[in-house]
């Protein structure tokens, strides 16, 4: 299974998201359509703002939303903050020295100058990435995936696309399992460690077999769908109901990008 990087992570992530979305909390209690639209509005707000203070307030708001939804900062750090800090942080550091501007400090020994513009641009990059990642994680941790999909269709995404997204999510885990079984079957029949070339060949064979099995699976699924009355049209059941607090949340969330645009915050 060694070649399937992150397999455990994908399954654990899905399980944790399912558990968290089933627990009680502020965001969990909102209508998924309202929640998706509201959180997207906040992500766009984080992208629109030209003020570090506004960005910091948005980040704080995201953390408050997590706390009132029973999601601990520790979980946010593990699922969003750390990964963003490592990736975007590493990418933002050179900006301190490479972005030209007013000298703020000079590194001892190396003599490199840190510009205030460089520092601000690194803060913008990291702040936007952290805030948006927090909001995206909140959506997934407080909403079962089928509800996210139904919310997408309510917001105008074609139902065929929503159906494909739903089925894809389901079959990702099926194919991961099949790939794992192919790998296990092969590994249980060899006596020694494989070198790079042998592992590459194993991987190519696995990919080819997985592709063949995927297409056969698609054919089976298609026949099963047709047997159940599928005629090419997808219909989704909508059983969501909005309450006053949903509209309050949406109004507040939409107000943020509105204020940022109107007041140039």
């Amino acid at each position: 299974m060694g070649f399937l990087h992150g397999l455990d992570g994908v399954e654990r992530h899905a399980r944790e998201a399912e558990d968290a979305s089933a627990s009680a909390g502020f965001l969990q209690g909102l209508d998924p359509r309202i929640k998706l639209a509201g959180l997207l509005a906040l992500v766009i707000a984080a992208s629109l703002t030209r003020s570090l203070l506004t960005l910091a307030l948005l980040f704080s708001a995201a953390v408050v939303l997590a706390l009132v939804s029973g999601i601990s900062p520790r979980r946010l750090a593990r699922q969003a903050w750390l990964a963003v800090l490592l990736f975007t942080g590493a990418l933002a550091i050179p900006a301190l020295f490479l972005v030209p501007g007013d000298e703020l400090a000079r590194l001892p020994l190396l003599g490199w100058t840190v510009s205030s513009q460089g520092l601000r641009s690194a803060a913008f990059l990291l702040g936007r990435a952290e805030t948006s990642a927090t909001l995206a994680v909140l959506l997934v941790l407080t909403t079962p995936w089928p509800h996210v999909l139904k919310a997408l269709s309510s917001l105008g995404v074609p139902v065929a696309i929503v159906a494909v997204l739903g089925m894809t999510y389901r079959y990702i885990f099926v194919l991961i399992r099949i790939a794992g079984e192919i790998s296990e079957a092969r590994r249980s029949r060899i006596m020694s460690r494989m070198n790079g070339k042998a592992r590459r060949h194993l991987l190519f064979t696995t990919m080819a077999v997985l592709l063949g099995k995927s297409l056969a699976l698609a054919q089976d699924i298609h026949l099963a769908m047709v047997a159940r009355g599928f005629r090419g049209e997808v219909r989704l059941l909508h059983d969501f109901q909005t309450r006053p607090r949903d509209w309050t949340f949406l109004s507040a969330a939409l107000l943020v990008p509105g204020l940022i645009l109107g007041l140039r915050l």
Partner: protein
């Protein structure tokens, strides 16, 4: 190469969504027409396959490991249109559910990795594989080259999207508000990684899969039947591919300092500093002392509406350059569409 939120401005995100949207629409129409009721389950499973392939940890020659984006594989096995859909679905799930790539950057990520990458890969594969036998070694090479070039085209598009941010979006104090590195840094930084490890991973995965399919499932490598509903613009696809490449490459011109050799103006020939540069670029052959009479006369006849690629109403030269490229590309597209329409009309008359 999955662009996170916050790296691109909202307007860039909107633009990339708008650029990807016609491809999504055409791809869904095309797939629906060809597959009928099979479209939904087949696209779902193939998208899941694309997602899983992206997780494969590929041991590369030299001891390192890498991940393929699957764009070469998808383009070769499914064709570019089905690849657009399956890779887009995989990228959307990665962004929404797994936080890999930003929500606002879904358009950009899909444009790079699900549109530009697969179309370039498909074009390279078709060009190099030609009419060779399905089991020929030439197809393995073509698949490797397709994966490599497709991946690097996608990376170049991402680098350009990053690189134009500080040109266009800074605050009053000069602070870049989004990705902070200009094209001169973004392109080399992005391409070094992709011309080596990531490109190699994509090449190895694409070539390896084709070699394995040749042995075990050769029927999967047979080209898909040509669609009977090919639209007129698709018939001029080579021109489109060339145009897309030119559009993508146009901001690279921003990296080049000075004037292109032979594109000197009468003012350049009169300016002592420019004369030194011209001589240095011409093997130390000095230009004539006086501005040639013909050039002097001709230069005053025609003043281009977009002089030096920067409209006069735009003070920012880089912005003008990009705008000029877009206007030029738009004019060329209109020209192609006119030619295409004419061809169709002539064909109709002949029949």
């Amino acid at each position: 190469m999955h662009i996170p939120d916050g790296y691109l401005s909202p307007s860039t995100c909107a633009l990339t969504f708008a650029a990807a949207a016609p491809f999504w629409y055409l791809a869904s129409q095309k797939v629906k027409r060809q597959l009928h009721t099979r479209a939904v389950p087949l696209m779902a499973v193939v998208s899941a396959f694309s997602f899983v392939v992206m997780m494969f940890n590929l041991p590369l020659p030299g001891g390192t490991t890498g991940h393929a984006a699957g764009l070469g594989i998808a383009a070769i096995v499914l064709g570019p249109w089905a690849a657009v859909l399956s890779l887009s679905v995989a990228l959307i799930i990665q962004a929404v559910f797994f936080g890999d790539g930003g929500l606002t950057a879904i358009g950009a990520n899909c444009l790079n990795m699900a549109v530009i990458g697969p179309f370039v890969a498909s074009g390279v594969y078709r060009m190099l594989a030609g009419t060779s036998a399905i089991t020929s070694a030439r197809r393995v090479f073509a698949a490797g080259a397709a994966g490599y070039v497709g991946m690097n085209a996608a990376a170049l598009a991402a680098a350009i999207e990053f690189g134009v941010q500080p040109l266009l979006f800074t605050d009053a104090g000069g602070t870049p508000l989004y990705a902070p590195y200009p094209l001169s840094i973004a392109i080399p930084a992005m391409m070094i990684g992709h011309l080596t490890i990531a490109g190699l991973a994509e090449a190895v995965a694409s070539a390896g899969l084709v070699a394995a399919l040749q042995r075990y499932e050769p029927e999967l490598l047979h080209p898909a039947p040509a669609s009977d509903t090919a639209s007129s613009w698709w018939t001029v696809r080579k021109l489109w591919a060339g145009l897309a490449a030119l559009m993508v490459m146009s901001p690279i011109g921003l990296l080049a300092a000075g004037t292109a050799w032979g594109e000197w103006s009468a003012e350049d020939l009169a300016d002592p500093v420019a004369r030194q540069d011209i001589a240095a670029a011409s093997g130390n052959v000095h230009p004539p002392v006086a501005v040639p009479e013909g050039l002097q006369k001709l230069s005053s006849i025609w003043t281009a509406p977009i002089p030096d690629y920067a409209p006069s109403f735009l003070r920012h030269e880089s912005l003008g350059y990009i705008l000029s490229a877009m206007i030029g590309a738009g004019l060329i597209i209109l020209g192609f569409l006119a030619v295409s329409a004419l061809r169709n009309r002539l064909a109709a008359v002949r029949n």
